[in-house]
C-alpha cells in the first residue's frame, strides 16, 4: 500500500513537473510570437515613417510652387503697372474715321471724303481729364486739312461740377457737340445749317462750368455755362456773308460771349434742352478797323430713344445786329432738323429719315434725306442715303445746293 501511495505521489510530482515544463514551453512560444508581432509592427512603423517622409517632401515641393506662383503674379502686376503707367494717370486713344462716296446730280460720282479724327484722353485720377480731337480730312487737291476740333482740360470740382478750360465744342444745342461724329450721325451728311459756318455755333475758346444736377422730383437734369471769345462776322472766302462761330484765341477787342444750355430728362430715354448765348461779334472793316455787332444765340433740342425708335430734333439760330459803320446787313441765321430712325437689331439694319431747313439773309435751303444703314457692329457702320436738296433762292456763290445726291459712307468709332 505504501508503495502504491509513494508511487502515486511520485507520479503526481512527475506529472506536475511535466505540466510545468509544458507551461514554460507555451510561454516561450507566446513570447516568440509577441516578438514576431513586435517586429512586424516595427516594420509597418518604418514603412509608415517612410511614407510620411515622402508626403513631407511633396508638401515642400508644393510650398515652393505656391511661392513661385506668387512671385509670377507679382511680376505680372509689375508689368501691368509699367504698361499702364502709374495707377492715377493714363492715356487712351479714341475717335472715329469715315470714307465717303457721292454721286451728285450733274457731276461725276467720286470718292469724296476721307476723315480721320483721333481723340486723345489723358486722365489724372478722378480729378482731371484732358481731351483733344484733331480732325484730318483729305482735300480735293490731295493735301490734308488738319483742324484742332477741341482741346480742353476739365477739373472735376465735385460730383456736380466740372470746370472746363480751352477750346471746347459749343455747348449750345445738341448736334454739334454730341452727334456730329460719323459713327454717331445716322446719315452720311450733316443737316443743312449744322455744318461749319452755318446757323449752329461750332466751338468756343474760354471756360465753362458743366455737369449733372441732383434729381428733383425724380427728374435728372444737366447744365453748361460758358464765357468765351467773340465770334467773327463778315464775308467768307467763298463769297458768302456769314458768322464764323468757331473758337478763336482773340476776342478782337469786342466783349466776350457768354451763355449756356440747360436740359432735363422728363422721361426715360428722353432729353429736352434749351440753349442761349449773348455778346458781340467782331467785324473787320475793309480799312482795317474792327467793329462790334450784337450777337445772340437761341436753341432748343430734343432726343428720344425708345424701343429701337430714335427721334432727334433741334432748332438753332444766331442773330447779328446792325451797325451803321458796316455795309453788311445783319440778320438771323437759323436752322432746324427732325430725324426719325428705327433699328432692326436682328437684321442689323436701320432706316433713317431726316428733314432739315436752313435760312440766312442770302439763302433758303431745305433737304430731305432718306438712308439705310447696315451695322457690322454697333460702332462699324455702312450707310447709303439719298438727299433731295432744294435751294429756294439759289443765290449762293457757286451753289450746288439744288443738286440731289446719292451718298455712301463707311464709318467706325474706336
Amino acid at each position: 500500500m505504501k508503495g502504491i501511495i509513494v508511487g502515486i505521489v511520485l507520479s503526481s510530482a512527475v506529472v506536475s513537473k511535466l505540466l510545468a515544463a509544458q507551461d514554460d514551453g507555451l510561454e516561450l512560444g507566446q513570447l516568440r510570437q509577441e516578438v514576431n508581432e513586435l517586429k512586424q509592427m516595427m516594420l509597418e512603423l518604418k514603412q509608415s515613417n517612410n511614407k510620411l517622409k515622402g508626403f513631407a517632401e511633396e508638401d515642400a515641393v508644393n510650398v515652393s510652387s505656391e511661392s513661385e506662383l506668387s512671385k509670377l503674379k507679382g511680376t505680372v502686376n509689375e508689368m501691368k503697372t509699367e504698361l499702364e503707367g502709374n495707377s492715377k494717370s493714363g492715356f487712351q486713344l479714341a475717335g472715329y474715321s469715315s470714307f465717303d462716296w457721292a454721286d451728285t446730280q450733274g457731276e461725276d460720282n467720286e470718292f469724296n471724303g476721307v476723315k480721320f479724327a483721333p481723340i486723345f484722353l489723358y486722365q489724372y485720377g478722378q480729378l482731371f481729364q484732358f481731351e483733344g480731337e484733331v480732325e484730318m480730312k483729305v482735300k480735293d487737291d490731295g493735301t490734308t486739312d488738319t483742324e484742332l476740333e477741341y482741346a480742353t482740360g476739365t477739373l472735376f470740382l465735385n460730383d456736380y461740377m466740372g470746370l472746363q478750360m480751352g477750346k471746347f465744342m459749343s455747348p449750345l444745342g445738341q448736334f454739334v457737340q454730341n452727334l456730329h461724329p460719323s459713327w454717331i450721325n445716322k446719315l452720311p451728311s450733316t443737316p443743312v445749317g449744322f455744318g461749319h459756318d452755318g446757323a449752329a455755333p461750332t466751338s468756343n475758346v474760354g471756360v465753362a462750368l458743366r455737369g449733372g444736377l441732383p434729381k428733383i422730383a425724380n427728374i435728372r437734369s444737366n447744365y453748361a455755362l460758358f464765357i468765351s471769345n467773340a465770334p467773327t462776322f463778315g464775308v467768307a472766302d467763298d463769297g458768302d456773308i456769314g458768322i464764323d462761330a468757331s473758337g478763336k484765341t482773340t476776342s478782337s477787342d469786342v466783349s466776350k460771349t457768354w451763355g449756356g444750355r440747360f436740359a432735363v430728362d422728363p422721361l426715360s430715354g428722353m432729353e429736352v434742352g434749351i440753349s442761349g448765348a449773348t455778346g458781340k461779334a467782331a467785324e473787320e472793316l475793309v480799312f482795317g478797323d474792327t467793329i462790334a455787332r450784337d450777337y445772340d444765340v437761341f436753341g432748343i433740342d430734343l432726343m428720344y430713344n425708345i424701343n429701337s425708335i430714335d427721334v432727334k430734333a433741334e432748332y438753332i439760330q444766331q442773330k447779328i445786329g446792325e451797325n451803321i459803320l458796316s455795309p453788311l446787313k445783319g440778320g438771323t441765321w437759323r436752322a432746324w432738323y427732325a430725324q426719325l430712325s428705327y433699328q432692326f437689331s436682328s437684321l442689323k439694319i436701320e432706316p433713317v429719315l431726316r428733314y432739315s431747313d436752313y435760312h440766312n439773309p442770302e439763302q433758303e435751303r431745305n433737304q430731305w434725306a432718306l438712308g439705310l444703314n447696315y451695322l457690322f457692329a454697333n460702332n462699324v457702320i455702312a450707310k447709303l442715303a439719298y438727299e433731295y436738296n432744294t435751294d429756294e433762292d439759289d443765290g449762293a456763290v457757286n451753289s450746288s445746293a439744288n443738286n440731289n445726291r446719292v451718298l455712301a459712307q463707311f464709318a467706325f468709332g474706336f
Binding site: 465735385n158 453748361a224 460702332n379
Partner: protein
C-alpha cells in the same frame, strides 16, 4: 448790366462748387442704377458699345469723357462704370 452778370455768375458758381467739393461722396457705386442709366442716357446719342470693346482701364477714361458730354453727375458716372465692369467680369477679364 450784362457784363456785371457774366463776370459775377461764373466766379460765384466756381466758389460754390469748390465749397461743396465734399459732396463728392464715396458711396459704393450702384450697378443696378448704372444699368438703367446706361440704357437711358447712352442710347440717346449713339449705339451702345459692348463692354468687351474696351479694357477696364479704357472704360474708366471713356466714362469720365462721357460724364462731360452727357451731363452726368459723378455718382451716375460711377454707377454706369460699375455696371459695365460687372458685365465685363461675367464675359471677359481684359
Amino acid at each position: 448790366m450784362k457784363s456785371l452778370l457774366k463776370f459775377s455768375i461764373l466766379p460765384w458758381l466756381l466758389v460754390m462748387g469748390l465749397s461743396t467739393s465734399a459732396i463728392a461722396d464715396e458711396v459704393k457705386a450702384d450697378s443696378i442704377n448704372g444699368a438703367q442709366l446706361w440704357s437711358d442716357t447712352c442710347m440717346r446719342c449713339h449705339n451702345l458699345r459692348e463692354p468687351a470693346d474696351l479694357s477696364k482701364r479704357a472704360w474708366q477714361y471713356s466714362m469720365q469723357h462721357m460724364r462731360i458730354r452727357a451731363g452726368l453727375t459723378g455718382k451716375e458716372t460711377r454707377d454706369i462704370l460699375a455696371f459695365i465692369l460687372e458685365l465685363k467680369t461675367e464675359h471677359d477679364s481684359k
